[in-house]
């Protein structure tokens, strides 16, 4: 599903590499927490998977494709098989909930009758049935994140990448979001989630990958956030 093969990422303006000779494999259907302090390389890891960056050395394989060899014009096709969720939701403020989710399908050229069918389905799945006509600023943070998850999942991706999805949410709302991500994972979608939220990691008991200074320092199945806290 995902394989990092001795990957080093060196940003031109920094002296220390963001990732240093990282090797890691994630299987299909796994739920993986990516933990580590700020600057440990989590974001770079996610950006390499999305092919927003290319590794300085080493190879990144995602969904069976060698991203080093993937030509630019094939990147959109790759991203259609991945969903992405961010801490700041990244919704369009002037569009309704329905339109925000539909946008993801419209821009990849899906026909209107498909959109009319799948958008209500996915909104139902994330628990936003009945709120299709609301705008993002009329929703709570948790609801906004559900819209973002609906948008990421509406195309039924094989891989869902979540970058601190609960970072802006209070603990009880976060639990709801995690339940939703767990449900998505159970449909067979691989989930990779970067997080700082120790309570959630401890509670979920999923695989935990910890980065520190660009190195892999821990890889535990059914792990917890960390011992040192």
């Amino acid at each position: 599903m995902i394989r990092f093969d001795s990957v080093t990422k060196q940003y031109p303006t920094q002296t220390r590499p963001a990732l240093d000779d990282l090797t890691l494999e994630i299987e299909k259907g796994e739920f993986v927490f990516l933990v580590g302090a700020s600057g440990s390389g989590k974001s770079t890891f996610l950006r390499l998977m999305l092919r927003e960056e290319r590794p300085t050395r080493g190879a990144v394989f995602v969904l069976g494709k060698d991203l080093n060899r993937l030509s630019n014009w094939k990147v959109p096709a790759l991203r259609r098989e991945m969903g992405t969720v961010f801490q700041d939701f990244r919704l369009l403020p002037n569009k309704t909930v329905f339109e925000n989710v539909a946008f993801a399908l419209e821009v990849i050229g899906k026909p209107r009758h498909t959109i009319a069918q799948v958008v209500p389905e996915v909104l139902e799945l994330v628990g936003l049935a009945g709120k299709e006509g609301r705008r993002p600023d009329e929703l709570s943070g948790g609801e906004q994140q559900r819209v973002a998850i609906a948008r990421a999942f509406v195309n039924r991706p094989k891989l869902l990448i979540a970058d601190e999805p609960t970072g802006n949410l209070d603990p009880s709302t976060s639990v709801g979001i995690m339940k939703l991500l767990d449900r998505i994972n159970r449909t067979g979608t691989t989930v990779v989630m970067a997080t700082h939220d120790a309570a959630i990691v401890d509670q979920m008991r999923k695989r935990v990958v910890e980065l520190e200074g660009g190195h892999l320092v821990r890889d535990q199945s059914r792990g917890v956030y960390g011992y040192s806290r």
Binding site: P76, L78, R79, I108
Partner: protein
């Protein structure tokens, strides 16, 4: 391809960036109006060249009794010389037609041209030279005729009427060049303005384009609204320029110039339509070129 969705994005984009859009429309309109004016001037020059060159002739003036030219040392042209000159003229392959104009005929034409003026009263048939009016198959071949007959006994002067028109056409050409230079400068301005407008639009819509890239929209889909917006704005500008050209044709040419110069041909509607088509084409080329280059720099996937 969702045409309706793309078009609604284009409409939103144009409205959100209205000031810049208007600036683009005006700049394109002015630059292309200048461009069109240059083209029309050229069409006018060509039209007049066709009209006049068809009428101009090479005149071979024959010696009169009082001519000062060395070739007229023998006095008035003899009948023999006249017959020989005419035969030689007709023998030249470049010559299409030859008319003989006697002193009497020259006098009558003169009186007609200068009637109601004092000169006409003082001129007698004797004071005007007789001549051959030569029509050339190709008016640019004047030098051959001149070389063959200038300085020949009995010939006072070979004159190419075309030379008189050249000066006038040179002035018109200079006007055309000036219009095209201004147009070129304005088109550069339009290119930069369109490019800058797209930069601003790409920045204001970075949230949308970011999401589009994230969910796997193709480059084409992300960039199409920006390209369409600039092409649309440029086309509106081009239509304004086209309208200006139509106004020029209707007022300046048809209502002012044509009545004042009844003996001159002016450009017809055909030239105007062709020019407007070129102006529209130029608008599409300019705007798509500018957006293509800009988007490559500012909207990379």
């Amino acid at each position: 391809m969702r045409a309706q969705f793309v078009l609604s994005e284009v409409a939103i984009g144009l409205r959100r960036n209205l000031g810049m859009t208007i600036a683009v429309v005006i700049t394109v309109a002015v630059s292309l109006a200048m461009f069109g004016a240059g083209l029309l001037t050229r069409a006018q020059v060509n039209e007049m060249k066709d009209f006049w060159y068809d009428k101009v002739e090479v005149s071979v003036f024959l010696c009169g009794p009082d001519s000062d030219e060395p070739s007229c040392a023998g006095g008035k042209v003899t009948d023999e010389q006249r017959t020989q000159i005419e035969a030689d003229l007709r023998a030249l392959p470049q010559v299409e037609e030859v008319f003989y104009e006697s002193q009497q005929e020259a006098y009558e034409r003169f009186k007609e041209q200068f009637k109601d003026t004092a000169i006409a009263q003082n001129v007698t048939p004797d004071s005007l030279p007789e001549s051959f009016r030569v029509k050339l198959a190709d008016p640019t071949q004047y030098d051959i005729v001149a070389g063959a007959f200038q300085g020949r006994p009995g010939v006072e002067l070979v004159q190419d009427q075309r030379k008189l028109l050249e000066t006038f056409f040179r002035a018109l050409n200079a006007g055309q060049v000036a219009a095209l230079v201004v147009a070129a400068a304005m088109i550069v301005v339009a290119l930069l303005l369109i490019s800058n407008t797209i930069r601003v639009a790409a920045f204001t819509r970075r949230r949308e384009t970011g999401i589009m890239r994230l969910v796997g929209a193709s480059n084409f889909y992300v960039q199409l609204p920006f390209v369409l917006e600039s092409v649309l704005a440029a086309l509106v500008g081009a239509l304004i320029a086209g309208a200006a050209l139509i106004v020029v044709k209707v007022t300046l040419i048809d209502q002012i110039l044509a009545p004042s110069f009844p003996f001159t041909n002016f450009i017809g509607w055909n030239s105007v339509w062709v020019t407007i088509a070129l102006v529209l084409l130029a608008a599409v080329l300019i705007s798509s070129l500018a957006s293509f280059v800009t988007l490559r720099r500012y909207l990379r996937v």
